[in-house]
């Protein structure tokens, strides 16, 4: 059974009340969802709060998942995206609360067991391997498109990319859009797509 099918079974188990299935779903996608959240909201602690909410919502709404609307991974991305954009809207409406730099303070979650010591070493190795596999596809893109995608995923807006590489904004927009389309086609051709 491939991972998308496993994911669908996990959601079915969640929908039938088997809450422990959340662990496997977390193992499959938490790193990708977290990367997405960090890219959008920037602050790691906020991203962790949102990651928690993504998985709680996945548990609450597992029964509403429909295979015909897409795989589980993009479904989780959709939940994460919605939450992250809501968070940005909230931040714009209220004064920003600065978090202390990592390592200078620990958040109080009401229990000593909740003190966070970061990801486990095996999780780091696994995440690095997964990313290495995906990077091979990215490296096969034409250089101008690859360059704008790398800047985009690293945190730059299209306008900022244009300034950084001294190219017109329109050129950056078309390179990024075309690059993302090509990337999807390559991933689909190699069976790496989530669609």
């Amino acid at each position: 059974m491939d991972e998308p099918e496993q994911d669908e079974q996990l959601l079915q188990r969640l929908a039938s009340g088997e809450a422990t299935a959340i662990d496997a779903l977390y193992d499959h996608h938490a790193q990708a969802v977290f990367a997405l959240l960090v890219r959008i909201v920037v602050d790691r602690q906020i991203a962790e709060d949102l990651l928690q909410e993504v998985y709680v919502r996945a548990w609450r709404h597992a029964a509403t998942y429909r295979r015909e609307r897409g795989r589980v991974r993009p479904w989780l991305f959709g939940i994460a995206h919605h939450l992250a954009l809501n968070e940005l809207r909230r931040q714009r409406r209220r004064p920003r609360i600065e978090h202390p730099p990592e390592g200078t303070a620990e958040r109080d979650w009401g229990s000593a067991a909740f003190l966070d010591h970061g990801p486990a070493p095996d999780e780091i190795v696994w995440a690095t391997l997964r990313q290495t596999e995906a990077v091979r596809a990215l490296q096969r893109l034409p250089e101008p498109q690859r360059a704008v995608i790398e800047l985009y995923v690293s945190g730059y807006s299209q306008g900022e990319i244009a300034q950084r590489i001294s190219e017109p904004l329109g050129t950056v927009k078309s390179r990024l859009r075309r690059g993302l389309q090509l990337l999807r086609q390559m991933l689909e051709a190699e069976g790496l797509s989530d669609e």
């Binding site: 969640l14 990708a32 997405l36 597992a62 509403t64 809501n86 780091i124 990077v135 807006s157 299209q158």
Partner: protein
């Protein structure tokens, strides 16, 4: 597609990567979100951008504590639902295989599919708690009735709570309808509704067993996608089999023109016996 619409579509396409990461002003974010609700090709491009970020952004790993917090919250919410559940009698609901075939609402026009009963029960339990907790807080009542006290009365006196667990949205919206006996008014509570374009509003639809779709009023959600609306039906709520919500033009439509953002059964009065 008209030339204007095509031009606007192209403009939006170019902004989608910035939209995906929330790098546009709020007004543009709202316009694009509304466009996305009906444009599959743009939805696909946003999905491509999100996928690329998730694959290629610098490695970021959540702390191990997040998993524990997820477990703790699920346990807590499960316990809350168990404690709250007996307070709210549940409307009789049919077997999933029975209802859609018998009820005439047309799925092509966005009638609800009503899956996920178990999760719906959990969701409605949580919603019940949430509504009670928020009842004194900044009620948003729009549509045909703008009456705060009516909403409070409806929640306090409700003898039926109908979860709205079917949503064509991703991520899905959720909600519930509170009804009292055979009254013609009900309180609709919705969460996670996406923002609408300035020329749109959400429209409530009441489905009869004969397949008629009757408007139950128009409303807008707040900036966080929440809404609490008093629905005014032409007849007793008992005479409808389902309720749905779809995004429609500001002045409303004669029938749903978009997939249901939210939907659920109201009961089975009027349906023939199995």
């Amino acid at each position: 597609m008209s030339e204007d619409a095509a031009g606007r579509h192209q403009e939006i396409q170019e902004q989608l990567p910035d939209y995906a990461v929330g790098a546009l002003p709020d007004a543009e974010m709202r316009l694009i979100a509304a466009h996305l609700a009906t444009c599959e090709s743009c939805q696909r491009e946003v999905a491509d951008a999100l996928d690329a970020i998730a694959r290629y952004a610098p490695v970021a790993l959540p702390g191990a504590v997040v998993r524990e917090r997820i477990h703790a919250q699920i346990e807590r919410e499960s316990a809350d639902v168990t404690a709250a559940f007996p307070q709210w009698p549940v409307a009789p609901t049919p077997a999933t295989t029975q209802a859609p075939a018998r009820s005439a609402p047309d799925r092509r026009l966005g009638a609800p599919s009503f899956a996920g009963r178990k999760t719906a029960l959990f969701a409605f339990g949580a919603l019940s708690l949430l509504v009670l907790a928020l009842i004194g807080w900044n009620l948003i009542l729009q549509g045909r009735i703008d009456d705060r006290s009516a909403a409070v009365t409806l929640v306090e006196d409700a003898d039926q709570v109908h979860p709205l667990s079917d949503s064509a949205l991703s991520p899905p919206a959720s909600g519930a309808v509170f009804t009292i006996g055979d009254r013609t008014t009900a309180l609709l509570v919705a969460h996670d509704l996406p923002p609408l374009a300035g020329d749109q509003r959400y429209q409530v639809w009441l489905f009869t067993a004969d397949g008629e779709r009757i408007s139950g009023g128009l409303f807008s959600s707040d900036a966080d996608g929440h809404a609490r609306v008093v629905v005014q039906a032409p007849a007793s709520l008992n005479s409808y089999v389902a309720l749905g919500v779809s995004a429609e033009p500001r002045d409303g439509s004669l029938a749903p023109t978009a997939p249901l953002a939210l939907g659920g059964w109201l009961g089975f009065n009027g349906l023939p016996s199995p």
